[in-house]
Amino acid sequence: MAESPTTRASTGRKPVGALLGVVPFFAYTTIFLGIPTLIVVVGAFLDGSGRPTLGNLSALAQPQIVSAFVHSTVLSAVTAVLGAVFGALLAYAVSTAREGGLMRRLVASLCGVLAQFGGVTLAFAFVATVGFQGFLTLWLQKVGIDLAGSTWLFEPTKGLILVYTYFQIPLMLIVFLPAVEGLRPQWREAAESLGGSTWNYWRHVAGPILAPSFIGAILLLFTNAFSAYATAKALISQGSPITPLQIGGTLSSEVILGQENIGKAMALGMVAIVAVIMTLYAVLERRTTRWLGR
């Protein structure tokens, strides 16, 4: 009895009261996500003394900045495709193992570590293996192959591709395994009972079902490689052949007068490229969700 007026009153106040519940979340994300993004976007159009300018954006046309963007894009695209192909094979192989078995658990945990943990450790691992004093380098020297003759390991179109692929494959496994697990054995049996071969099954059943997730995963991998900083930073001590290193350079060292905000312009360029990729990803994911009815 005494309850009903309060209930009615609170129903009337509901929107305001309910909105209070999400204030902490919005406050937090505004401070640590919204404001930093705004600083980058606005800063890209301001000069050193705070006046609006397009100078930062036109400075992006400098040859070394363009070449860094090209290197970053090529590196990310190649490692995304390589990582996706090998990661998908691994995911399918793992999905045929018993569910909840030790092998799955080991592979999942190992991939979790290797995908996120790359960074500095990974750079060290490759230096210790195929660097100038690496064991594979020394071993291959004995059979006449010289890996130490050039700086290939530190070049974005050679060594970095190898190193980046190392953390792309585990990430692919993590994002693609749920999709492969969504393939029901009944579909294969149905295809077989209709006289379909293994090729028919992959071409007409599994392939089309997995295609959106696969392409979506490639886009995610692209973003992942595009954003990576730690591995390259620990591996490359001289020069900044890729964009994240150049942006890092503008933060930690002095920049040319009049181009204080060029780092922000480069950052904006990265966001623009990633935004295009992620929009594609969102569209694809919506389709996947609809197809699989999940």
């Binding site: 640590f32 980058v40 943990f117 960074g119 594979l136 494959i169 942006i247």
Partner: protein, 272 residues
């Protein structure tokens, strides 16, 4: 039946070949680290580097930055997971219960960090962190604020899957009608029901925080990866040993967490 048996045999062979070859690719660099850290000056094998690494007293004396980095990373892991859970679980539950119209907005914000590379975030966070340092001091622990943003997309996805699997509304209404306040609903009704999702969100956060280098390094703060990178300038062999030890530790932590998560699930097979 015969077809299925033949296929299973083929799948087993395929699985072993693929997993074997890719494992080899994964194992070689790790082996490289083991090999490098056990090299003796003369050309033989020695465990001196590892003995130095685990001689905690001497390490503390000679390389104090490593200890500082380990402590900072441990603190950051706990703080990041705590802020992430305290902020996300109630907000996401609340939005499901009272503000369903806001779900897409919250999802958009949570997934936004995927489109903003960490390096870009650093550029924008620099002025924000100038304020953080002014208000709270220079401690490395405050990096957790930025790390929460980095883990948002992964944590959101994990928690969203968990909350979708239970009937939040009915559970909350039942608890409320029995006289429970909102804190009780969160703590004793929602949280125990999404424990697996909470664990998997925490799992990803732990891996990400332990491996984070970009933000800490550019803001000149301490954490494990920054310390290891610094160590490599003084003693490459020791730094590689420390990196490998950290990797193994993270792997053990994640493997242990995967068992805790599934232990719960196997008790209740009806929940998917």
């Amino acid at each position: 039946m015969k077809l299925r048996a033949a296929r299973r045999r083929k799948q087993t062979i395929f699985r072993r070949v693929v997993v074997g070859l890719i494992s080899l690719f994964f194992a070689l660099p790790l082996l490289g680290m083991v090999e490098f850290t056990t090299r003796a000056p003369g050309g033989g094998r020695t465990l001196d580097t590892w003995a130095t690494l685990f001689d905690l007293g001497a390490m503390d004396q000679d390389y104090p930055e490593l200890k500082a980095g380990i402590l900072a990373s441990a603190g950051l892991t706990v703080l990041t997971v705590a802020i992430m859970l305290v902020m996300l679980v109630p907000t996401m539950t609340w939005v499901r219960l009272r503000l369903p119209g806001m779900r897409r907005l919250v999802e958009f914000i949570c997934l936004l960090p995927l489109t903003i590379p960490a390096i870009v975030l650093v550029v924008g966070l620099a002025p924000v962190y100038a304020w953080v340092a002014y208000l709270l001091g220079e401690s490395s622990l405050w990096l957790a604020f930025a790390y929460v943003v980095l883990v948002l997309p992964y944590a959101y996805r994990a928690l969203d899957a968990g909350l979708s699997a239970i009937d939040v509304k009915t559970l909350a209404e039942a608890a409320r009608s029995l006289g429970a306040g909102w804190p009780t609903v969160m703590w004793r009704i929602i949280l125990p029901n999404v424990r697996t999702a909470v664990l998997s969100a925490a799992f990803l956060s732990v891996a990400l925080v332990l491996g984070e280098f970009t933000i800490a390094s550019l803001f000149s703060r301490d954490n494990l990866q920054v310390a290891i990178n610094l160590l490599s300038k003084r003693d490459a062999s020791l730094a590689i040993a420390a990196a490998l030890a950290a990797l193994i530790l993270a792997f053990v932590v994640l493997l242990a967490m995967s068992f805790v998560g599934t232990g719960r699930r196997s008790q209740r097979p009806e929940e998917n």
